[in-house]
């Protein structure tokens, strides 16, 4: 039996098999990982009418029923007020963030949240807001307003939020 042949020489990165072999730089196959920190964006001040708690424009959230993607009648005044503001202020842009409850696949929930954001976007464009004033995105289940795990929390998290430029 050839015992020599079963003694395979395997190379790990950055090493040589014998002392007289060529020195190689340490390629990172051993798994060295560099750490990166992601920067997030800080907000700016908005006009008072968007922040005044007595003004309907301070309301930014549209809540949805379970497995539903329709803007309910009770939230139509809010969406209409924002449409009116955006038509009158064409230099303002908004980000609509769709959200879901925590149940199920994260990526599928991202798609469901997108349907909610798109629903709000469609109402706004029908009311005359330009497409280039709106970006509809989804946060899926990733940013729950209520971190609980019951029906109350889930209802609060099935939501579309309107953010003005400066807030995102």
């Amino acid at each position: 039996m050839k015992t020599i042949s079963i003694l395979l020489i395997l190379l790990l990165a950055g090493c040589t098999t014998t002392s007289d072999g060529p020195e190689q730089p340490g390629a990172p196959v051993e798994g060295r990982v560099s750490t990166v920190t992601a920067d997030t964006i800080e907000g700016m001040d908005l006009p008072y009418e968007l922040r005044d708690p007595r003004n309907i424009l301070s309301q930014r959230s549209v809540y949805f029923d379970y497995d539903s993607f329709e803007v309910k009648r009770e939230y139509q005044p809010v969406v209409m007020a924002h449409a009116k503001f955006l038509v009158a202020n064409r230099h303002f842009k908004i980000l609509i963030q769709g959200n879901t409850d925590e149940r199920g696949s994260r990526e599928y929930n991202l798609a469901l949240g997108q349907k909610r954001a798109d629903a709000v976007r469609k109402v706004l464009t029908v009311l005359g807001v330009h497409e280039d004033q709106i970006e509809a995105v989804s946060l899926g289940e990733e940013k729950p307003k209520n971190e609980g795990h019951d029906e109350i929390a889930w209802a609060e998290n099935r939501r579309g939020d309107i953010l003005y430029n400066g807030e995102f």
Partner: protein
């Protein structure tokens, strides 16, 4: 149930440098692996202590023994205190008497410049022959650990006919409160854990490039989902899908040249392919419904994905270059997160039943579905590169943990970090 307490390599260095501080500061998060349901008949194997440097031998042998034991397939026969190098002939009769079927022995010796040479040999005790052997040069502790994993891989392959995955890596996300998200990369045994990305905003859906050097993932750091490709060694990252709307669900083509992603730029969630540098976006899905979670078949010809076109989320398959789309799952009203086994024969997915969301596997030829877990919040499956295990995220007592489940459902390993949520696992490819 057996329990292994594993400490981060970093923590060990810290222990040596400043043991006083340890009494003052809270202990570092501890990675714990729990194992359940080992096979009824396990393969009896002995790993002797290796000859040469005793400290290096202790580390190396503990890595090899730990790897093999955690599979639930091997029964480790006690062989501590027996030191044997790879050139000695084992006393076959003695080991046979102790019920050992296979024996591994070896040595770790200095090779100059702080490097070490590790050699090992595997013996068939019943036949009285050598089965395999190899040698490694290492220059650091992580590399010595990797040599141990490679030896365990070789033993696994020689004895079971399937390569081991001990030298592979896993990626996962650690959430610590609502403002701390970290993308971690660790060895398959949970050791050598390193942080690739820290963010105040969520990170989801990491996916390994086929060469194991990059991760694609979705980051919410700009208040919306954007797909990044991140080179692990350099930390260089770039947004490869940052179109208007949402960008998500990256999946690599098997040749590593393309990614399938989900974009909402044309309204709704639609599957596109892009080049790995972000150029050349081309729409694949046509239906005006949700189309998401794309995953390439191993031959690169097909994309499996989740769609609600039939009224409930189900898994479908389409040709990457367009053409006929066919439905793959039919049982139940919620089947999502398709992943194809490396041999292309099985589909792992998450199904919702009465007990909640569970990992299931389906034979693509016979359509037989088996539920592999009894948990209620399973998510994000990924196959080990040898196809024997499926890594998922699940929840225990309200906390996110990872679980590796054998495809026959028999063995489970659980990986958790105290006081943090662990989620979104992705099992990396074989090392080359």
């Amino acid at each position: 149930m057996r329990r292994f307490f594993l400490y981060r390599a970093r923590g060990l260095i810290g222990l040596a440098v400043c043991c006083v501080a340890l009494f003052v500061l809270p202990a570092r998060a501890e990675l714990v692996i729990d194992i359940e349901g080992a096979g009824a008949r396990r393969f009896p194997i002995a790993i002797t202590d290796f000859a040469g440097d005793p400290d290096a031998s202790r580390l190396l042998v503990s890595v090899i023994r730990g790897d093999l034991e955690r599979t639930g397939i091997f029964e480790l026969i006690y062989a501590s205190g027996v030191s044997m190098d790879e050139s000695a002939t084992p006393r076959y009769a003695d080991w046979k008497f102790r019920g050992v079927d296979a024996l591994a022995a070896g040595s770790v010796n200095p090779a100059g410049d702080g490097r070490r040479e590790t050699r090992f040999r595997l013996y068939d005790i019943n036949k009285g022959t050598a089965l395999a052997g190899s040698a490694f040069i290492t220059s650091s502790m992580p590399m010595l650990r990797l040599a141990g994993h490679r030896i365990a891989d070789a033993i696994h392959e020689k004895l079971l006919g399937v390569p081991g995955t001990f030298s592979t890596r896993v990626a996962f996300v650690v959430k610590n409160g609502s403002k701390s998200y970290e993308l971690h990369v660790a060895d398959a045994d949970g050791q050598n854990e390193q942080v690739a990305l820290r963010s105040k905003e969520p990170i989801i859906s990491p996916a390994w490039s086929p060469d194991g050097t990059r991760l694609a993932y979705v980051s919410f750091e700009s208040r919306k989902p954007v797909v990044y490709v991140h080179s692990l060694a350099s930390g260089k990252r770039s947004a490869v899908a940052n179109f208007k709307g949402s960008n998500s669900a990256p999946a690599w083509s098997p040749d590593g040249t393309k990614l399938a992603v989900v974009l909402s730029k044309e309204g709704g969630s639609q599957i596109f392919t892009i080049n790995a540098d972000g150029s050349g976006a081309r729409r694949v899905s046509a239906a005006n419904s949700i189309n998401t979670e794309p995953f390439f078949s191993p031959d690169g010809q097909f994309l499996y994905f989740t769609s609600d076109r039939g009224g409930s989320p189900q898994i479908y398959r389409t040709n990457v270059n367009g053409g006929e789309t066919r439905r793959v799952t039919f049982q139940g009203s919620y089947n999502v997160s398709p992943r194809i086994s490396p041999d292309g024969k099985n589909l792992a997915f998450i199904t919702r039943g009465e007990g909640g969301f569970r990992l299931a596997i389906m034979g693509l030829e016979d359509g037989q579905v088996r539920i592999l877990t009894d948990s209620g919040k399973d998510e994000s499956p990924s196959f080990s590169p040898n196809g024997r295990m499926i890594l998922i995220a699940t929840e225990i007592r309200g906390r996110g943990v990872l679980s590796a489940v054998s495809v026959d459902g028999g063995v489970r390993q659980r990986l958790s970090i105290s006081a943090a949520d662990v989620r979104e696992p992705a099992w990396g490819p074989f090392n080359r």
